[in-house]
């Protein structure tokens, strides 16, 4: 009945499989590896070369064919086993389960917040097109959008955290706070997430506001808005049902993909704020050559992006009647 749904699902699964396979292949192409690292360390420690060979020999496994390794890699991934983190000495999946909710919390909150601000501001600018307010808001939007979020983040840490001590500069919560549905925990979590969220919102809202402004101006010029006014509909109804809805629709896909992109962007953001989410672990894994952790986080980040695009594809038809599951024949 729904070939569109099947097609999109198939495409999402194919993309994730490709990412898995590429990760597997690329890690294999990286020169060196844990054994080379071990040998180098032993040489630095001045161990006798013949002794080194013997130690290395104990670690060396019988060479297995690539396809067997690939098969084992895929099957263990499917059973949720991402291997052991070499650096943290913990299963990668446990680290990710611990870190992912925090990253999702920060990035989803930030993305929702920035879209709400952008939609309101953009619509306001469109309704006041050409006024001083429009010019000022557009200029501010362009200015803020041209600042990279990590530059603003560093600025926040330096000024607001170190100079004035208004916000914490690191960690997800203060020491001693127990996670749970308590006011203390929630407010503490928000307090720690405020600066990361603010740096994303401030640097990304502008571009979306300009997009909303452009969409709204276009919709305001449409005949159906003029006809709606002549039909005597209230300004509020026209703003919400006519202008708002038609201007926001094209931004919906961008919204969901931006969530995915921002979760990928957490690598730098969480490093700046020393915020232990998956981005933070990704960075630690890179520094420490923790391949298993690196692969795990990489997979999670790409999967999030693929899933958000997938959700956007599937749900767009629900909010826009013109896109009703592609393959369906025209009603008339």
């Amino acid at each position: 009945m729904n070939s569109y749904f099947v097609k999109r699902t198939g495409r999402a699964i194919l993309t994730i499989w490709l990412v898995m396979t590429l990760t597997f292949g690329m890690i294999r192409l990286i020169p060196g590896g844990p054994i080379e690292m071990l040998r180098a360390r032993l040489i630095r420690q001045g161990v006798d070369p013949s002794r080194i060979d013997a130690i290395v020999q104990t670690y060396k496994q019988d060479p297995t064919p690539v396809y067997v390794e690939y098969y084992e890699y895929v099957t263990s991934l499917l059973s949720g086993n991402m291997g052991q983190s070499f650096y943290y000495q913990e299963p990668v999946s446990a680290l990710i389960v611990d870190a992912l909710p925090w990253t999702v919390f920060v990035m989803v909150t930030a993305t929702i917040l920035l879209f709400v601000i952008a939609i309101l501001l953009g619509a306001l600018m469109a309704y006041h097109e050409g006024t001083a307010f429009d010019t000022a808001a557009s200029s501010a939007s362009i200015l803020l959008s041209s600042i990279p979020f990590y530059v603003l983040a560093i600025g926040f840490v330096v000024v607001l955290s170190y100079q004035f001590g208004l916000f914490p500069a690191r960690y997800r919560m203060s020491p001693g706070v127990e996670p749970g549905f308590t006011v203390q925990f929630l407010s503490n979590a928000i307090y720690h997430a405020a600066l990361p969220i603010a740096s994303v919102v401030l640097t990304q809202a502008g571009l979306q506001a300009l997009a909303m402004r452009g969409n709204s101006i276009q919709v305001l010029g449409e005949d159906f808005v003029r006809v709606a006014r002549l039909r005597g509909l209230s300004d509020r109804r026209i703003a919400v049902r006519y202008v708002g809805r038609n201007a926001i629709l094209p931004m919906y896909t961008g919204f969901l993909t931006l969530i995915g992109f921002n979760i990928g962007g957490s690598v730098i953001l969480e490093q700046v704020f020393t915020y232990p989410g998956i981005g933070y672990y990704m960075y630690q894994a890179l520094i420490n050559r923790d391949y298993a952790l690196m692969m795990g986080v990489f997979l999670i980040i790409t999967t999030t992006l693929v899933v958000s695009v997938y959700i956007a594809d599937l749900t767009y038809g629900l909010i826009d009647p013109r896109v009703q599951s592609g393959g369906q024949s025209e009603a008339y």
Binding site: E222, D223, F224, R226, V227, A228, R229, L230, R231, G232, L233, S234, R237, R241, Y242, R245, N246, L249, D320, P321, R322, E330, A331, Y332
Partner: protein, 358 residues
């Protein structure tokens, strides 16, 4: 021939006008140039008036003016009096926001060119009807019954159309649904701005026939705006010709088609493409119509008019009464009969020399 016997007037009146437009002008630059220039005309109760003009002649502006809905930041001046069936006449341009909101769609309704863009693409047609009824505090149930009947009158399946989204309907269906939407509050006057422009010929004809039926059934007065002269000639009781933002000729359809007295109207009639006529007989009008910022002095048509003389270059002509309620804004309307032959008339119809009429 001298001008002294000539009767002229500011406008051609009708007996029982439902709308009286007097000196309606629209400017976008505070009076330096006009996109509707001193138009005065009466719309008789129960008639179909066809307004014909080429693109950019101000005819859509006239339609918008009737609902005081000139696109911003246009300035509309003059008076537009609406005479309801009972009660006192009101000047539409003097109404406050709330009264104007009530007048539009309840008394004077409008069908725009391009039905495809007149519906909100993300809303079903039923919602369009319901919200219109709600906005005018009408009983929704009774209103929807009317909508069903209207859609049926227009040969649409009401339930199917109402539950559809605009994109699910063909152009002709959307146009008919839009006509139904414009009539759902039972207005007295229906202004149609090129309602058939985007449709194929067969659909144009069938919509015109439906309009004629609707007009009878719902006792409507219609102002039908088009650039397609032969199309409206089949439908309209009277015709008004616009050129360069002014009204230049008005009269009974029959009169205009056979005895047009303005050189422009005659040239327009001659330039109408006809499938039967050989290509050599096609007579396009030389030159082009003026832009609002570059209007010639005097009669706007004089640069293209073969009969133009000094007076035409300095004075804007009033309406000269040609016959009864046939008026032509031309100093030389008598000469135009002889100078510009109408190609569509065969010899039989021209037995009486046109110049000798009256």
């Amino acid at each position: 021939m001298t001008q002294s016997h000539d009767q002229h007037t500011e406008h051609i009146a009708v007996d029982d006008p439902i709308i009286e437009v007097r000196d309606a002008s629209v400017t976008y630059d505070e009076g330096t140039s006009y996109v509707l220039d001193g138009v005065s005309l009466d719309l008789g109760r129960g008639e179909i008036l066809g307004v014909v003009g080429e693109s950019g002649s101000g005819k859509s502006m006239l339609a918008s003016a009737l609902l005081d809905a000139v696109p911003d930041p246009g300035l509309l001046s003059g008076t537009i009096e609406y005479h309801p069936d009972s009660g006192a006449a009101t000047d539409i341009l003097e109404l406050d926001t709330e009264d104007l909101r009530a007048l539009r769609w309840e008394e004077i309704s409008m069908v725009f060119q391009g039905a495809m863009s007149s519906f909100n693409p993300t809303m079903s047609l039923r919602k369009h009807f319901v919200e219109t009824l709600e906005a005018h505090d009408e009983d929704v149930e009774a209103g929807m019954d009317r909508a069903h009947e209207l859609l049926e009158d227009l040969y649409l399946e009401p339930d199917r159309v109402l539950s559809s989204y605009p994109h699910e309907l063909s152009g002709g269906m959307q146009q008919r649904a839009l006509i139904a939407l414009s009539l759902v509050l039972e207005p007295e006057v229906l202004v149609m701005d090129e309602p058939t422009a985007a449709l194929d010929l067969l659909m144009q004809r069938s919509i015109l026939l439906l309009l004629d039926d609707l007009k009878e059934k719902y006792d409507l007065t219609m102002l039908f705006i088009t650039h397609d002269l032969p199309l409206v000639a089949a439908l309209a009781d009277r015709m008004a010709i616009m050129y360069a933002f002014r009204l230049i000729e008005i009269g009974q359809t029959e009169e205009i088609i056979n005895h047009a007295a303005h050189p422009y109207t005659r040239a327009l009639l001659n330039s109408t493409p006809n499938l039967d006529a050989p290509l050599e007989e096609m007579r396009p009008i030389e030159g082009q119509s003026p832009a609002p910022i570059n209007m010639p002095d005097g009669c706007a048509y004089h640069p293209r008019c073969p009969l133009a003389e000094d007076q035409c270059r300095t004075e804007v002509p009033d309406f000269h009464i040609v016959a009864g309620d046939h008026g032509s804004a031309c100093f030389n309307w008598r000469e135009s009969y002889d100078e510009i032959e109408l190609v569509h008339l065969d010899d039989g119809e021209r037995a009486i020399p046109e110049g000798d009429r009256q």
